[in-house]
Symmetry: D2
Subunit: 283 residues, 4 copies
Amino acid sequence: VNRARMLISCPDRPGIVAAVSQFLSEHGANIVQSDQYTMDPEGGMFFIRIEFDLDQLTARLPQLENDFAPVAERFSMNWSISPASKKKRLAILVSKEDHCLLELLWQWQAGDLYADIALVISNHPDMRELVESFGIPYYHIPVTPETKAEAEAKQIELIRGQADVIILARYMQIISPEFLKHYPNQLINIHHSFLPAFVGGKPYAQAYDRGVKLIGATAHYVTEELDGGPIIEQDVQRVSHRDNVDDLKRIGRHIERIVLARAVSWHVEDRILVYQNRTVVFV
Amino acid sequence: VNRARMLISCPDRPGIVAAVSQFLSEHGANIVQSDQYTMDPEGGMFFIRIEFDLDQLTARLPQLENDFAPVAERFSMNWSISPASKKKRLAILVSKEDHCLLELLWQWQAGDLYADIALVISNHPDMRELVESFGIPYYHIPVTPETKAEAEAKQIELIRGQADVIILARYMQIISPEFLKHYPNQLINIHHSFLPAFVGGKPYAQAYDRGVKLIGATAHYVTEELDGGPIIEQDVQRVSHRDNVDDLKRIGRHIERIVLARAVSWHVEDRILVYQNRTVVFV
Amino acid sequence: VNRARMLISCPDRPGIVAAVSQFLSEHGANIVQSDQYTMDPEGGMFFIRIEFDLDQLTARLPQLENDFAPVAERFSMNWSISPASKKKRLAILVSKEDHCLLELLWQWQAGDLYADIALVISNHPDMRELVESFGIPYYHIPVTPETKAEAEAKQIELIRGQADVIILARYMQIISPEFLKHYPNQLINIHHSFLPAFVGGKPYAQAYDRGVKLIGATAHYVTEELDGGPIIEQDVQRVSHRDNVDDLKRIGRHIERIVLARAVSWHVEDRILVYQNRTVVFV
Amino acid sequence: VNRARMLISCPDRPGIVAAVSQFLSEHGANIVQSDQYTMDPEGGMFFIRIEFDLDQLTARLPQLENDFAPVAERFSMNWSISPASKKKRLAILVSKEDHCLLELLWQWQAGDLYADIALVISNHPDMRELVESFGIPYYHIPVTPETKAEAEAKQIELIRGQADVIILARYMQIISPEFLKHYPNQLINIHHSFLPAFVGGKPYAQAYDRGVKLIGATAHYVTEELDGGPIIEQDVQRVSHRDNVDDLKRIGRHIERIVLARAVSWHVEDRILVYQNRTVVFV
């Protein structure tokens, strides 16, 4: 309960690690894990993730943040410190396919996903019973071209104050730029292809037509550019000429749920930094 | 030495397997391996690869082919029978990067690639010593925009009668449609990306910019559509934010040589059938 | 509904494929898929799996089997013909860990596992609610060293007539030879290591101590030799020094459920032949 | 040329990172990469690898090491600082199979393996021409049970002063404890199985008999316990019932060379720390 995670990105300069580790040491914190990456030593960006233990973390965190501000300013840092014990709260959006939602629910129930699932919102009523059996609120908000703006307003209202992170677990509606700006790098989508191959609709049909020998899935942060946001994780599975489009979809479901679950885990464990449409993932 | 391989593709109809296996049985052949695939049972295509043993194969093959012709005609078959002991002859085209060529040379020397490497042609002089140390003729044919047609004419002349299969082992020139039409489905290229992602030039730089988490390579038959021919094999390897473009190239070299070597092996073992820009690979 | 699957193993001799395919052709059956493997052509074993379509299969199957008997006898065949539409019935045995059971339930519900789950038996009461929510009967049969024989008798009684295949989905009791002899090659276990590494108990602790860089899981048919039965499927996942025993268990759970689900799918689709403690898997 | 790598392992205590990074900062060094791992935060071991840049590294390294000694003593550190530009010198021992040697030679020639290959020693004469064509000295030292001690003495004499690291690239003789004690954690072997499965001789035959569905290879440091030293890297490839022992060997050759080359690369880049028969590999 006294474990915290510090994420920093800033322009590279000599002395950053020394300044940060000395700061933590002087405040009585013990670094138990650190991962650092410098993109291009000459004039590039510096990224670090530090896990540290500090007695009475909760009580002392505000002062710690206060004291760190001048250090951060000196190095023009983008930074955050989060108590590891504080679970992130997820809102999951889903349409008709349940496999990605189910994987998240099971991993959550098994204790493998350290987060609270605050609510599930769907544009279809089908999964209410399933979701409520896990003790999680389910909201059915239908979406039509005419009611899209209104539906989003309802979604935002439901999520506001309840969830920090939004997971599109095979949610088949496009998120508006207005929605997105409330959740920068906090909105994770699973795309059913190895991006950038097969952007757009029906990727498995496209993959079949092209005769690929591997199919994949991609978890990414959502940005205004459709299927173009920073990639968090990708994986693939081997297929053959014997697999028709339905087989590809079935195999794809397995990759999708694994890839999405990994990405969500990394996000809620503060393992991901984003810089210029690329992710730095410390695993 | 009495082993042969039969490849058949034709419209699916009842009785094909029975007709073929009865034909072989009546001619004293013993089927030691068969792989069959029917694309969409209702009115689709039928593909089969049969390995069989027949005493005195070499002497009896012409008669066998003659006798099979009416069977083939009845079912509108596309077919071939090849003695397994007859090595296919390869011409390898290469530019400046040697890793794919080296992999083929080593596998050939180790006895893992059952083929003859008849000659190597390059638009650069660099690899002459290496290639000749394996006892293989090396031809340096420079290519410039002005001399491209002439260079191709020389290549075709060198290859004609010497090689059945052409391998583009990181050969960075585009093959003309005239050249291609001499070698339908006999010209294999290695593309340094997981097609159809990153078609065109500089795929590793594209992959870096997009921030992908896996990079791949694709072996395919060359057709007039650049990077668009039937895919034979693909594979990928995991990369991370730590890998810069040079790292991606280095990692990519390993995948490229593995993927190309697999594709060439399958081709020379008559394991590949092509139908409408897709491959059926019996492995 | 008119699709059937034929499995044959027998000593290799010339003419088997011809005899079988001619038999099927004469009876009006159309072969839509066939896979064949000959172990060591000279005097070895022959294995074939054929999928065929036959009008009015259900009505004509008894006669077909009757007619095939003399062919089978001629070649000393071990054989079976199963209607593809007839679902196999599974009994799942489970202890306290639910991940393998959940994967099977979910794949079954999603239509990816073509079988009936007839019943679940556990030596613990914990999963009753979960299993019954799927509409599947749950039986709690406690097992102690003293009551083991009695418990097995109850299990056999429950299973008899209800299930053809028994899945040990992390069932932590040893099955007695008496039980086994009722279900030869019909009893599938998931072992939480890459066998034959780490046989016996606590394989993840063993794997951690040995410092392996990959951990795996193995699905196998159960025989009297503990952890020694024919292997159906194996897979692995990469781990590192950062993963402690609990991490290995968590990662292992994912591999276990994937590997077990694959093995069960292949079994219920009649894709597995067993010969001398090895499996031939036609996928 | 001013890049250095620092490896430290010591009992975990608060303040290690701060002390080290402050030390480096005060000496004008800029940390460009750091990886840290704490095994069990409470009273466990601490491991760190730091890459830093320091102007005039070569001239200032002795003083730097001198100044660091008291810091190291305070924390009971096991430590080293190596200039990244200083290539490690390899001695490669090989018997009759050349694939692992070839992979190392090729990666070295391609610039992918940052090391000097000082010499190759073999108990067979076969590869002299190959090795010498790379400009590398080749020594043929036959080994028989009677001459083993004498042969080892010759090997040690040849290696002493010429090489820091010894690679057993499919060298089929057992190394004596006397030899080993000169090269603690500097002697890397490739074992042709996924250890600890199939220890001892003929692992591919063992793997075939057991009917495994994946075969693997393991690179490890050599210790007195045969096949029991700290594992550096492992990988596997899928096989099937179709693959006989020779196929397993052929497929295995590919995994062996990839796994060994990775392990050697990591070693020469100072990425590996050893603690109690386990490796910490920072990649």
